[in-house]
């Protein structure tokens, strides 16, 4: 039954400074009023992102690069950009592997 479909084989998204990311339609970042917490709704999963992850995910808008996001956060939180960049690349790679962000 597998022989009739021949789509393009998907490949792993490797997150880098120049990556432009967004949340797929079926991933929903939302503030849950009852819990007073941000939740990320995914197929049969609920993620509870920490404060940094929430800030990063809000900026994954399909326009900014990961580098832009790092610059933004570095300025807002007065922290070294290279440290932030390394942290968020790692975090976004993990989220990409879980299907939570796409390019």
């Amino acid at each position: 039954m597998a022989e009739t479909v021949q789509p393009i084989r998907p490949t792993r998204l490797m997150v880098a400074e120049g990556s432009i990311l967004l949340l797929p339609r079926h991933i929903k970042l939302r503030h849950d009023a009852g819990r007073d917490a941000w939740v990320l709704l995914a197929p049969e999963r609920v993620f509870k992102p920490d404060d940094t992850a929430v800030e990063v995910l809000k900026l994954c808008d399909g326009k900014r690069t990961v580098g832009d996001i790092a610059s933004d956060l570095a300025e807002r939180f007065q922290a070294p950009r290279d440290v932030i960049l390394a942290d968020i690349v790692q975090m976004l790679q993990d989220l990409a592997d879980k299907g939570v962000v796409k390019s």
Binding site: M1, A2, T4, V5, P7, R9, P10, T11, R12, L13, M14, P24, R25, H26, K28, R30, D32, G34, R35, A37, V39, L40, L41, P43, E44, R45, V46, F47, K48, P49, D50, A53, A96, D97, K98, G99
Partner: protein
């Protein structure tokens, strides 16, 4: 980042959200009707008839209550949920109140138009079950001719409509050799997620245990295949793996802990802490026709019975894993020991563990008996002897 599973297959128990008293997931068994007859169905042996099912308005009211109670995800399940002609009216309200709506389906009753309609109403995700990649074997397992071909078609529609797809492949001795091809198939049809779920031996599966139980060697091979596939398919396919209790060292945290994050509502409106809870004697289950969902969740006898750790006996009581696996499955504990508060025999600390685990070794090496198919009246209740 904390990750919480909202379905029934909880493999890695991460801590729940801070307000652990608010449920996260609702498994809504819309009907027990199903055209398939899989011999490992998780529905009870006594299937509920269609004339007792909640009405459209009753489900809509329950869904509104569920959202107000803090539930984030609803799993529309069955039986086969698409057997209900009012599924659209149910999905519509679930989407309106902001629930993440997941359709758990066998697919065979769907048309492309209907699926598109559901997507337009706000359906978020489809979980499609397959019995095997070998079509003839799949149709034999489900006792449904042409099922595998239809499912393949449905998978294509799901992707075409841009809906995310999870493929659910229950695994047992009569399809276990297909695992590598099942994984490859999931990638080919564009599934984002694959559940490789070794059968859990309750209800129909327990009846059919000898026909389904794989050998330890065959099971160990699946562990290896899945681990290698996870690495190879990182970022392409998320694989969730559910192991059979019989070959595990520690039990699973059933439903992520009793009354902790998930609830199940039967077609007739009974609210259960887990879908097998009705097998426990001496328990009463509230019905959404009689009480509000919040009351049932917070104060219902059934939910409070095994909630937390106060009910535990040794070896659970002093165990360092008591809040990791919550003593395992109450239903399995009862079925095997006669007391639901005992440690699940799946736990290596249970005095009955070795004897219990031995059954798997014996049965899996014998010739498998015929399936007892899941159908109304399929599992005859044994009548006591005499007049």
């Amino acid at each position: 980042m904390n990750e919480i599973t909202t379905g029934t297959h909880v493999t890695d128990a991460e801590p729940a959200l801070a307000c652990a008293r608010a449920p996260v997931g609702l498994l809504a068994e819309l009907t027990h009707r199903c055209p398939l007859q899989c011999p490992y169905c998780s529905n009870p042996l006594e299937l509920e008839r269609s004339n007792v099912e909640l009405t459209t308005a009753e489900w809509q009211d329950v869904i509104r209550q569920a959202a107000a109670l803090g539930i984030l995800q609803i799993h529309l399940s069955g039986g086969e949920p698409t057997a209900r002609k009012d599924l659209e009216d149910i999905v519509k309200v679930a989407a309106e109140v902001g629930l993440y709506t997941n359709l758990i389906t066998a697919g065979v009753l769907l048309t492309k138009e209907r699926l598109k309609g559901l997507a337009d109403l706000g359906l978020d995700h489809v979980q499609l079950s397959i019995q095997d990649v070998d079509a003839a074997n799949a149709d034999r397992i489900a006792a449904y001719k042409g099922g595998a071909a239809k499912k393949h078609e449905v998978a294509g529609w799901v992707k075409e409509l841009g809906l995310p797809l999870t493929l659910n492949a229950p695994l047992h001795r009569q399809n276990i050799d297909s695992l590598e091809r099942i994984i490859e198939y999931a990638v080919e049809i564009g599934a984002g997620r694959l559940e490789v779920a070794h059968i859990q031996y309750y209800a129909w599966a327990l009846k059919n245990r000898a026909a389904l139980m794989p050998t330890r060697e065959a099971f160990m091979k699946t562990v290896d295949i899945v681990n290698r596939a996870k690495e190879r398919l990182k970022g392409i396919l998320v694989i969730d793996f559910v192991v059979p209790d019989y070959y595990a060292k520690f039990p699973k945290p059933c439903m992520g802990g009793w009354g902790r994050g998930v609830m199940n509502i039967t077609p007739s409106g009974r609210v259960l802490p887990c879908h097998a809870a009705e097998s426990l004697p001496g328990m009463s289950f509230d019905n959404v026709r009689d009480r509000k969902l919040a009351e049932i969740w917070l104060d219902g006898d059934a939910f409070n019975k095994f909630r937390g750790t106060d009910w535990m006996k040794e070896p659970c009581k002093s165990c360092s894993r008591r809040e990791i696996d919550f003593g395992g499955c109450r239903c399995q504990a009862f079925a095997l020991t006669g007391d639901a508060a005992n440690t699940d025999p799946a736990c290596s600390l249970s005095p009955l563990h070795d004897e219990w685990a031995k059954v798997a070794g014996l049965e899996s090496h014998e010739t498998p008996p015929d399936f007892i198919y899941r159908r109304v009246g399929g599992a005859k209740v044994v009548e006591p002897a005499g007049e």
